[in-house]
Amino acid sequence: MGSQHLDFTANVTEALADRQLRANFKSALTGLMKKRVAVLPDAAERERMRDDAEAAKRKALAKLPELLERLERRCTENGIIVHWAETTAEANEIILGIMRSHDATKLVKGKSMVSEEMHLNHFLESHGIEALETDLGEFIIQLNHEPPSHIIVPAVHKNRQQVGRIFADNLEGIPYTDVVEELNAIARKTLREKFRTGHVGLSGVNFAVAETGTLVLVENEGNGRMCTTVPPVHVAVMGLEKVVESLSDLPPLLRLLTASATGQLVTTYVNCITSPRKDGERDGPKEIHLVILDNGRSKMLADAQLRRTLQCIRCGTCLNHCPVYIRIGGHAYGSVYPGPIGKILTPQIDGLADKGVLATASSLCNACEEVCPVRIPIPGIIRRMRTEAYDEKGDGVVKGHGAKKNLLETLVWKGWELTYRIPALNRFVVSMLGRFGDKLPNVGPLKAWTSVRTAPRFASKSLHQLAKEEGIRHE
């Protein structure tokens, strides 16, 4: 289900032609970039936080099986029921089973990217269950039957007029308005009613602490607290990489997550859930389920470079800083995770045959790596995706490795290698270009280049020649 055919080129053409979309993205993301710097003003301190955050996540990955076992043990002791799912289909079935065992037909959802990865809403709806997004951004796009375009601000591509129209068209008795305060009030009224009457609440997990069996959720709106407190049953879903060893790992991770995601020092709520309602307590769910999803993650762990993908804390700042994402927006990627993190995560989950093209959509400018709070070497892993897509040596490990292998490109690069490895050949080719360079046929790569640029010019004398003529010592 995750791997529908992706026509990336068509998506890009469409996105680039949409001026409104580009304007919406540019203004929102530029704002987020500025807020991030404002809340992390001291570069040296920021780097120390990144040292700690990176170390906490890499330590957790180094001990992943033990920590997951400990998490499971602690959660179970605390009364949380733990489930394991190898695939998104299994995870969906588990949640459906929980719903059925309570005769529940109404699910209220807090924000969860893993549930997007599972296409949970669609699955539950096909089984007659209402799955309602309650994060305002998610609520807006769900009403409009769209996927999120950003992992933190899912409706960032919509302006207030568009939101006003979506509300007026989809909510009963709501007239059009484009006043933000009024739009928020409409959402508040509609959704508070849903919280009050929901049967099961679903949430994601930002960090799962093995030491205490605690699920940590950060949020600003309060819908996450509503979903995890008001309904009698709470289901939390997480990718298995979300576990950290101890509470003391949290301070730098929390600080950087919120700073990177929204430019805040801290969110409105940091919600730490350790058990269902205990005897004598008067509210909170009586039952908590934790669904831990693999979906290709355990495979990434087996490779020293690829495992670093699992450090991701889904802050979204690599999207905000990506010159490609800023211009084409999230939907063009045709995947749950867009932007730089999507370029490395999606091909690993869905395979290079369908999603390998995403890795070509990068100029390798390194902006993402520069800001990633846990220092994932994203450009390096993008290169790895490209290398795996051709898999020349036949030692690829990513699903669909070698899918892009073709004779033409192989020959071109072989020719390139010879030209630059063998000095005499290099001299010959460079001098030929100098002589005939302006007569190159305007096809293929050159045509792509010259659609918006003049053709490259080749000098009549190369630097090699000029240096020699000027008597520059050559050894």
Binding site: V12, L16, P323, V324, R327, I328, T360, A361, S362, S363, L364, C365, N366, A367, E369, E370, R383, R386, T387, A389, Y390, E392, K393, E409, W413, K414, W416, E417, T419, Y420, R421, P423, V430, G434, G437, P445, A448, W449, T450, S451, V452, R453, T454, P456, R457, F458, A459, K461, S462, L463, H464, Q465, L466, A467, K468, E470, I472, R473, H474, E475
Partner: protein, 253 residues
């Protein structure tokens, strides 16, 4: 990824790695770099067997070809352990940071690392290792600056370039908005994703135009070829200039 490098002292001789693009299309910029180094009292050695750092193949997924070409460069610069100065932040970043990565699991890893530690970007080297001083002999002019992503993020060379420009008393430097953003070149990216690349360079040109500068300077010919080619195509009258060539002209009047 930007590191603080240890710069050599009392430099007498350096190697010069011209890069394939400078060799083919911007040899005058390459020569200007050599002249600036010699003017600072340093002997320049230009091995004729040099060609390309290997980045095009490396970034395109053809690791084996990139490694073969990288090996040829390492060999060409192996007769002495002089610093290797490169008039491109991108190629310098490739040789400084990515060579060790490419050979991380090979027996030659430590030799490669020693090679890599000798690699410097030209402007950075002139400013931080040779401490050059320039006297401007040109007419007043307004310019703007574009750092290649790798000059900025891998070689940390932006501040040095601006310091050099700052020494030229008749040159006014106007910074562009979103200076940190990629111009859309990205080597084969501009060919694999031509539409996105075109959108990026179009925005970059708008930002350049808004400065009112008559020239756009950069330390990387890849960006200059991209930005310059797009400006020419659109008829934007701003001259793309390599930093070395620009400085050399200013100090010679």
């Amino acid at each position: 990824m930007a590191h603080t490098f240890t710069y050599p002292r009392d430099v007498k001789t350096v190697y010069y790695f011209g890069t394939c693009l400078v060799d083919m299309s911007f040899p005058q910029a390459g020569m200007a770099g050599i002249h600036l180094l010699r003017r600072a009292g340093v002997e320049v050695v230009f091995p004729q067997e040099q060609s390309c750092c290997g980045q095009p193949a490396y970034n395109s997924g053809f690791l084996e070809e990139a490694r073969a070409v990288a090996r040829a460069q390492i060999k060409a610069f192996s007769r002495a352990d002089w610093p290797i100065v490169v008039p491109s932040g991108s190629c310098a970043g490739m040789m400084r940071h990515h060579y060790p990565e490419m050979f991380a699991n090979d027996p030659e890893y430590f030799d490669v690392r020693k090679f890599s530690e000798r690699v410097f970007e030209l402007g950075d080297f002139l400013h931080n290792a040779l401490h050059v001083r320039y006297e401007d002999k040109g007419k007043p002019v307004k310019v703007t600056w574009h750092s290649s992503c790798h000059a900025m993020r891998e070689m940390g060379a932006t501040a040095a370039a601006k310091a050099l420009i700052g020494q030229l008393s008749n040159v006014e430097l106007v910074e562009i908005e979103r200076e940190y953003e990629c111009c859309g070149f990205g080597g084969t990216f501009s060919i694999k994703q031509p539409e996105i690349s075109a959108a990026m360079v179009a925005d970059k040109i708008e930002d350049i135009r808004a400065t009112g500068a008559s020239a756009i300077l950069s330390g990387d010919c890849g960006c200059l070829m991209n930005i310059g080619g797009a400006m020419e195509h659109k008829g934007v009258p701003v001259a793309p200039r390599h930093l070395a060539e620009f400085i050399w002209e200013r100090i010679n009047g």
